[in-house]
Every structure is written in structure tokens, then in C-alpha cells.
Symmetry: C2
């Protein structure tokens, strides 16, 4: 399957807004069934799916050597890969008591148990911002990330009303930095449905889902969104802005909130 | 807790190797207990731990509003945070049948069920490489990432013997790209214990663990490692090279494999 997709978006550059066709990366949900039981859904790029499933099972200890993998059946259109391994009981036993819930890096079930609720959660916020305000915020956001400047090893996230940076957090995990923002906002009673979420990392579906659950109307990143984020952003009415750097940005969805 | 740590490493720059004190980001395992039950271990930066736990529980649907959080007890030295929520049964019910295993983005239990096996898994490979070979490989590795050039949205990983790039994969997930490499290597009978793993992403403990399980002697990244990776790299005898770009690189552990 082609791992990229062509989409139309609005590019703002040096005070000019233009409709441009661009290429975005696909985000593909692959559900692994192990010996007939659903094991996990990985959000991945739709290529080398068999190697991904094998590598995942090896890394997680469900298989140790090639000979442990007896059979692999891939259904690309359904997004399902079924793997049969030997030493079934033994391998399952190894993981017993180690099960956990995750929003992990494109891994986990979050994707599924919220997707149903999307259609009833259109974000109707009348929040608006100008392109110059976005670019000025990004400059301040980038400056604020001292840990990153010190180590090059973290992601940062912030919550802003378009004028000021209200909450700012950093973490080695993209998802953690945003959970820290959401946690502080809810704990301190800071409203989210009239604010922008800014992240240093890629915008994947799980990032969008965290924002959608709190009805945050706009996500801005200096990095890229996936095709799934653009699809969901359109469905949910959430403004997605990527590659906001220097004098430019790409507006992928709900562009009416960006007023030139 | 201070989220960064000072370490000593060797910096190679313009054909000169020097011992330099540098700052690296801390990787901190935080185990969340929900209503007395162990829920998950997040690998995170050790600040705003209460907000991280609250945000995670909110994002995962264990809590919906602030009032659902009845009590939070944080034990920084133990890396434990215990949260009491109301509507216990109901909240747990919501997640039933959705439990899964993960290597997720610094999230999950992988960290724990392999850490025990570390001390018996010292990597003794006699593999060696010169700094110029490393930098030449990085140039070819960066060129090879066409998806990234097309979309800016993926990570890439490759397996090399120090001269050639044998396996190359890309994915929206750092972990997925490396699982694709390991999966293909095992499936095609490509040896791993005499090869280098190169990644475009940060080197976190879970990336090191994937390599350690296959006795890969060296990991190279154009990005940063965490303090935990440096600690484990020293214990396991795995060479960790970060910020390999242009004419420079940082050698954090097992520097004997880099021969000037």
C-alpha cells in the first residue's frame, strides 16, 4: 500500500495564502491477532507489515527465534495480520500480569474506543487567530524550550489563547508533554475549548484525539500531521496547522479560524 | 527532581576526539497505581508528575472531570504515584476488554520484564568502525529516507555492517521502524550481533532494549540518548553514538569500538 497520500491544503508564506497540493504520510491502524486472539493495534506506516508484526512479537517476547513463527496471514484492506506461534501457552504465560493500557507512540487502543464518539463531538469554537499571531507564538514557544536547548532530547507542548502562553511542559514523550498540559489545565480550572495546543512533535491521531476529547479547536506544530489527522480534523472541525516555522505554515483543516 | 543530568562523553569533531562534559535528559520510570492497582509505567521526564498522571487518566478515560480525582500521592524516590478516583467500578468497566501490551512511546512494561535479563546479556562483539565510516553512513542513511523528504512525517532505521546499508525501513513510529528492521533480519536470517542499528529518532531505553535483546553492539542516532540509555549502554557494553551529523558525533558508551 502507498505510504503517502496527496492532499490539498492552504500554505501561508510571507503574508500570502495559497491553495497547494501536498503529500502527507499515511497513518494506518494494523491489528495483530496472535493465535486467534486480538493482541494490539499498531498505528504505523502501511508497508513491511509482516516484518513489523514479526519484529513486534520478537521485541515483546512472544517469539524468540524465526522458528517460533508458524504462520502469518495479512489482510491489508482490513488492516489485520494474524500470526500463529508455537509454544503458545508458554509465551502467553510470560506476559501474564504484565498487561497494561497505553496511548503509546502510535500503539494502543485509545484510537478505537474514542473513534465512535467523534461524530457527536464536533468542535464549534469561534476562536480565531491571525497568521502573524501564530508565527509569533511559535517563536516564543521555541525559545521557551530550555530543556530541549540543553539536551536536544525532549518534546514540548503549550496551551495559548493566541496572545499569551498559559501552560508549558516538556517531556521525553510527545504524548506525555500534552498529557501534562491537559492535566494542569483540568486541575487548575483553565478552559481548553477556547485555546490552542502547540506541540513540537508530529501530529498523529492520538494527539488529535487528546485535543478532541477536551474540545480544543486548534493544534499547531512545527512538524507534520498524518493523513488520518487531516481526515479527523475535517470531521471534528479542529484546525490543524503544521510546519509553522519562520514566515510560513500549512493550514490543513478548518482554515476559517485563521484570519488574514 | 532535576530533569537533566551531567555526564562525560567523547566528542569527535573534525577528526579530533575529546573528553567533554555534556548534559543529557533524564528518563524516569513512573508507575501509576489507580485505586490500589498497578495501571501502567510511563517513561517520562521527572517533573509535573501529578499533572502527567492526571492528564494520562483523563486522556485514557479513567477520569472525566477534576472531581473524579479524589486523592494523589506521589513518591518521587520510588517513582510511584497513587491516584484514587470515584466511580471506580464504572471507570474500570469502560476499559475492560481493551487491555493490551505495548512497547509504546516510553510507555509500557517492556522496560521492566527485560531489565532483569540485562546483567546476563553483556554484548561482547568485537565489531569496530572508524569515525569517518560512521559519518559517511549517516550521510547515506539521511539520503535514503525518501518518505521523510516527501512528508517530513516519518522516522527511519537501518542495519549496517559499517560499510553497506543492508536493511532500511521507515515508519511514523520510531519503535515501528526498528521492529521492521528486527523482523526482516530474523525472517531473512540476517545476523544482528555484528551490525549497527541506525535510527533517525531519539535513543530511549526501549530502543536500547530492542537492540540489546538481539545483541546489536552499536546504536547510532542523529538525535540524543537519555541518561538511562547511557547507564544501560555502559552495563551492557553497547556503543551509543548520538548527534552524528556533518563532521561530528558524541560517543557516550563503549567507545573502544570507534577506532580513530
Amino acid at each position: 500500500m502507498e505510504p503517502i497520500e496527496k492532499i490539498w491544503m492552504k500554505r501561508y508564506e510571507n503574508e500570502v495564502l495559497a491553495d497547494i497540493e501536498d503529500t502527507v504520510i499515511k497513518e494506518y491502524p494494523l491489528t495483530i491477532f496472535l493465535n486467534g486472539e486480538e493482541l494490539i493495534t499498531l498505528l504505523c506506516s502501511p508497508n513491511a507489515l509482516n516484518y513489523l508484526a514479526i519484529g513486534f512479537l520478537l521485541s515483546e517476547g512472544f517469539a524468540v527465534v524465526k522458528e517460533d513463527i508458524l504462520e502469518i496471514k495479512t489482510d491489508e484492506t482490513q488492516g489485520i495480520i494474524a500470526v500463529e506461534t508455537r509454544k503458545k501457552s508458554e509465551l502467553i504465560k510470560k506476559l501474564s500480569g504484565k498487561r497494561t493500557i497505553t496511548t503509546g507512540c502510535g500503539k494502543g487502543t485509545t484510537f478505537y474506543h474514542v473513534i465512535d464518539s467523534f461524530h457527536s463531538r464536533i468542535v464549534k469554537s469561534s476562536f480565531e487567530i491571525s497568521p502573524l499571531e501564530v508565527l509569533d507564538l511559535m517563536k516564543r514557544f521555541n525559545k521557551a524550550s530550555e530543556l530541549f536547548q540543553a539536551t536536544g532530547g525532549v518534546h514540548s507542548a503549550c496551551l495559548s489563547d493566541g496572545k499569551e502562553i498559559h501552560l508549558f511542559h516538556e517531556d521525553i514523550g510527545r504524548h506525555n508533554a500534552i498529557d501534562k498540559i491537559i492535566g494542569e489545565a483540568i486541575w487548575t480550572g483553565t478552559s481548553l475549548n477556547d485555546k490552542i495546543l502547540i506541540t513540537s512533535g508530529r501530529i498523529s491521531s492520538e494527539i488529535l484525539i487528546k485535543a478532541a476529547k477536551r474540545e480544543i479547536p486548534m493544534i499547531i506544530s512545527r512538524s507534520a500531521p498524518t493523513n488520518l489527522v487531516i481526515q479527523l480534523g475535517n470531521e471534528l472541525g479542529i484546525t490543524i496547522i503544521g510546519f509553522a516555522r519562520g514566515n510560513r505554515m500549512n493550514i490543513y483543516t478548518a482554515a476559517h479560524r485563521v484570519q488574514c
